[in-house]
Amino acid sequence: MANIAVAQPAKKRSPIIEFFSNQTKWTPYLFVAPFFITFAIFTLYPMLRAVVMGFQKSLGYTGQWEWIGFANYIEALTIDSRMLTSLQNFVYFALGSLLTQLPCAFLLALLLTSPALRAKGLWRTLFFIPSVLPGVTMGVVGLWFFSKTHGFANALVLAFGGERVDWGGFTYFIMPQLLTIAFWQWMGNHAVYLIAGMSGIGHEIIEASIVDGATPWQRARYIVLPLLKPVFAYISITAAAGSLMNYDVPFVMFDAGGGPRNKGWFFMTHIREMAFGQFRMGYATAIGWLVFFIAIVITIAQFRLYEFRLGQEEA
C-alpha cells in the first residue's frame, strides 16, 4: 500500500482530488466502467425508451410516433390470436424439452460417471458437442433429417417397411420435430452439468451409503438426485428462458412462417414479424414487455421452487 503513504500528507485537499490522486481508489471503477457504460447505452436506455414505445404506434420507419395508450397491450392480450399460439407453443416446447431431456440426461450422467467406463472425458465431449453448434446448423440438420424426399427419418421409416411421411405437412408433427432437434442439441449439455454437480458431492456421503449397504440404484435415487437440486435448478431456469427465446431452429425449419397453422411460431418470431415484417415497432415493443415479464415470473418461480441462489458459495 505504498500509494496511501504518499497520499497522506496532503490533508486539506478536496475529496475529489484525494480520490483521483490515489490510484487504488479510482482504478476499480475504471475497470468496471466498460460494462456499465455499454449496458447503459445499449440496454438500459432502450429499455427506458421501450416503456414509452409500448404505449405508442410507429408510423413506419419515419421516426414519428403516435400516442395510443394501452391499445397495444389490449390487442396483444385479447385480439392477437398468434400471441396465444406463441404461449401455447412455448409451454409445449419448454415442458416437452424438460420432460424428455432431464430424465435422459440424469441416466446418461449416471452411465458416464460409472466407474466401469473408461475414457470418460471423450464420452462427455461427444454428447456435449451438439450444444455448441449454431442454431442455424441445427435447423438445417432438422430440415434434412425430416425432409420428405431425402431425409434420414423417412429413410428409416422406409427401411422398416413404412410409407413416406410428410413431416412438415402435418400440424401434429411440427412440435415433435422441434423437440427432437432440441433433445439432440441439449440433452448431452444437461448431462455434463449433472456430471459436474455429481463430482461436487462429498465422498464421505457416498462412502457412508456404501457402508450402509445401499444399492447403486438406491444411491442414485435417494442420495445423488436430491443433492443435484441446484444443478437441476440451473438447467431448468436456463432451459425455460431458452425456450422462451426460441428462434433460430424454427426459423430455419419453417421458413419464418411458423409451419402449418403456426405450430412452429414462437414469441421471438412474432416480435420479429410485427416489428420488421409489419413495421409495427410500438406493438412489437409491447409484446417484448409481456414476454419480458413472463420470463421474470418463470425465473422467480423456479428460484423459489428450487430454493436456488446464484454465486452463494463464497462471501
Binding site: A2, Q23, T24, T27, P28, Y29, F31, F35, T38, F39, I41, F42, T43, Y45, P46, M53, G63, L111, S114, P115, A116, L117, W123, L126, I129, V132, L133, P134, V136, V140, V141, W144, F145, H150, F152, A155, G188, V192, A196, G200, H203, I206, E207, I210, P230, V231, L244, Y247, D248, F251, V252, A275, T285, G288, W289, F292, A295, L310, G311, Q312
Partner: protein
Amino acid sequence: MATPGVSRDITSSYRLGVRSKIGLFRLRAILATTLALILALIFVWPFFCIVGSTFNRIDAITNPLIPIPAEFSTQFYQLMFGEKYQMQKYVLNSVLISVTTTVLSALAATLSGYALAKLRFPGRDFLFSIIIGIMLLPTTTMLVPQFVVMKELGLVNNYWGLILPGVGGGAFGIFLMRQFMLNIPTEMLEAARMDGANEFSLFFRIVLPNAAAGIGVIATLSLRGNWNALLWPQILISDVDKRLLMPAITMLNQLQVADAYALPVVRTAAILAALVPLGLYAYSQRYFISTLAGAIKG
C-alpha cells in the same frame, strides 16, 4: 473400507467395494462401454450422414442412412465458394465481427471480474448484485427498442452496431471471470504492490497471465455466441455485402424452391459453419466444463 477424513474419489471407493468380484466388474465395464457406444452412435450417426451428403453430386441417388457419398464430389463446396453464392464473403464478415467483439469483450470482462473479485472499493457488492440481476434479465425481448436506438445512433447497417453492445464483456462473462479470479491468491497481488507495481502493470503483468484459462473460456463463449448469432445480425444488417454468415445461410435457405442447388449448398455451408464452434470447443474443452460447472455449483 476407506477411513473417514481420507479423501478418495468415488471411483476408488466404489472399486474397493467390488474388489472381490472382479469378474462382475469386467462385465459391468463391457456393458457400460457397449451402452455408451450404442447411444453415441445413435447420437452422431445422423451427423455423419449429413456430412457425407455434402460430398455428393446433385444428381446422385443417395441413401440418407449411409454416411458414405454415392458419388464422391466436392461440387457443393466449389459452388458455395464460387461466383454465384460467394459464401467466403460472409465467412470473412463473420470472422471480422466475432474476433473484434471477442477480443474487446474478453478484456472488459477480465478487468471487471478482477475488480469485483480482488479489489476493495465502496459499492463493489452492490455493483456485483446488479450484474447478477442483469444476467437474469431477458434482454433479448428488448430487441425492437434496441434497434430503434441503433437507428437513431446511425448504427443500423453498420458493423459497430453489432460490435459495440458486446464490448462491455457481458454480465455472464463478468460473473464467470469473477468466480475464476477468486482463485488467484491475494498475497501475490499484495506482494507486487509492495514492490511498487501500479494497478495497471499489476493487471497486465500478474493478473492477465494467471487468468489465461478463464479468459480462454469466456473468449470461447463470446466467439461462439457472436459466430452463432442469427436474430440480431439478421435485423441490423440489410446490405447484402455486409451480411454475416448465419443470416446469409438462412437467406439462401429461403430460395430453395426457386434454385435446386440452394438446399445442398445451404446444407454444406451450415456444416462448414459448425466447424468453428466445434474447433473452438475441442481446443478449450479442458477448461470449459470445469469452469462453467464451478460457477453454478453451490
